[in-house]
Amino acid sequence: MAENNSLVRVEKLVKHFPITQGVIIQRQVGAVKAVDGISFDIKHGETLGLVGESGCGKSTTGRTILQLHEPTAGKVYYDGEDLTTMGESDLRRLRREMQIIFQDPYASLNPRMTIGDIIGEPLDIHKIGTAKERLERVQELLNLVRLNPFFIKRYPHEFSGGQRQRIGVARALALNPNFIVCDEPISALDVSVQAQVVNLLEELQEKFDLTYLFIAHDLSMVRHISDRIAVMYLGKLVELADKDELFYNKMHPYAIALLSAVPIPDPVKERQRKRIILEGDVPSPAKPPSGCRFHTRCPIAQDICKVEDPPFEEKTPGHWVACHFTKKAQEEML
């Protein structure tokens, strides 16, 4: 799957959070397998959507790619360079090119810093420009995200959620990055504001040729903004395809169930839409089920699913799925 035009390449990435016990001497008694061996690439200039239920490891994936969490195993290549083995100073240089926008517009801005200081911090950290140039850049960034540069001395608590999210976007843009992880950037916002922020992100992508990893819950929003979509379940990717391919030719039972919740614009088809409600809870990532992780909830699971983990394979060009019975899934569930 390693194509030449990929900007970010993730190979067998693993992130386990150790669970420790003991008062004085701590022993590791297990691990939360938040991300458990996933591979994909993100092409230059595209938006890759990443969807899945809460707790399946989406945020951890985004953060591990950016080396905000140290990966337990696996590789992350940015523009051909391996981030996982890189030294501090090289990584710091590359941090200028990779940024992140967070879900919670309240927690993502330091409440004790002014907007000017928050947006100017990246310039300060990387010692870019004089004080005056930095100020001009901050004003330019505020204009870019459609906030009044007049607000430069204000504090985050004086802004609404949507405005704060735009401040977060301005901070992420300050160093002219190429790649941005958007970790549910709109989930915490009012519906009326969501479209504004998404449109802003799209506009900025066009203007600056940005590449996004767009993490979300809301499937219709992901469909709107993404070029390709990856579906994640309990630390693993289960399906990855172009967005239209995924919507019209979905193969994995989990993806089929997830997408069955998305309304279809065509009223005739909408009436025929079969909603599949999954039974049971998501198992704990500390003790994932054997074999195919989805077998405890899969409506078409067979015995083999309990023992053999289905490989993540390219079933048709560009369409990757991890399931033993894709045919059966399409026949019985659609």
């Binding site: 008062v23 004085i24 701590q26 953060r63 950016l66 905000l68 990584l91 710091r92 941090r95 200028r96 990779m98 940024q99 992140i100 967070f102 879900q103 919670d104 927690a107 993502s108 801005l109 330091n110 409440p111 004790r112 810093m113 002014t114 911090e121 990246p122 950290i125 990387h126 204009n143 459609r146 906030l147 009044n148 007049f150 607000f151 001395k153 204000r154 504090y155 608590h157 004086e158 802004f159 405005q163 977060g168 901070r171 160093l175 479209a195 504004q196 449109n199 802003l200 506009e203």
Partner: protein, 336 residues
Amino acid sequence: MAVADLELNSSITQQKERSLWQKSMDRLLRNKLAVISGIFIILMVLVAVFAKQLTPYTYAEQDLIANNAIPKWMLFIMPEGAENYANFSDKFPLAADHLGRDLLTRTIFGARVSLTIAFAGSLVSLLIGIVYGMISGYAGGRVDNLMMRVVDFLWAFPFLIVVILLQTYFKAIASRSGGEGMGGAFINLNNQMGGLLFLFIAIGLINWLGMARIARGQVLSYKQMEFVEAAHALGANDTRIMFKHLLPNILGPLIVAETMAIPGYIFTEAFLSFIGLGVNAPTPSWGIMIQEGVQALRSYPNQVLLPAIALSLTTLAFNFLGDGLRDAFDPRQIDK
């Protein structure tokens, strides 16, 4: 284009920018009890600083003829029949003690001791506590675990007893020799400070543990916040994250806890002085004054009353101020 245009007319253009510190200050100033307490403490500080200018007497000056003297108006707080034995004198506005020293002067100078203990004790425990707690919380994992077990261990240690033993030992040495070498220099310095140095050390050592726990807990909760992660993502180093992002956010609760702890420091000093292990005579401390006064409690209750009132009012003021600060820094109040 669906993106909103420049929000030039947004309501927030009309307001003045206010930091969270300013907002907390506004809330504090709206709390009457806290404001009165604050003013009282400021007055006490001024009295302590200008003690020499405020009174014509010195705290050690004796007028043996006027021992236990009281002014006439004070009769109403004296026991029945006091007019038959009392030594009346209007030289001392709030009476004199058994050595004929002016009680008001001694109370004023006593404020010096109590307030110095309050501020030095806070400073020492805050500094050690913040450094220790922040390192522990920020490092996390094994280091954190180890550092906090040390705190737990010390917490269970009966420090007051150790302080009493050490003070007894130091006092014994100090009374025997002028002191040589390092230890001697230390003891000399302590004597020059009227016995305060050892008190600072003792009180600081007892109280940094609580501050370290609070600092660590605060760091643990803030270091998971997304703005700290954002700083990491931007390439900020640990020093920057500690000083720019964590410290300003954790300071509020620490200041509140420290203000609430001050009455404890003042009481510890008073207690140690009361049992004769605090400041050296004739340095007046409220604790020593109460101890001296207690011996004549039946005949001259006024001698206990004055330092006791000063002690109570001061500790009450710090408590009220602490309460006010806690409400003012309460994060749930932030938007009010």
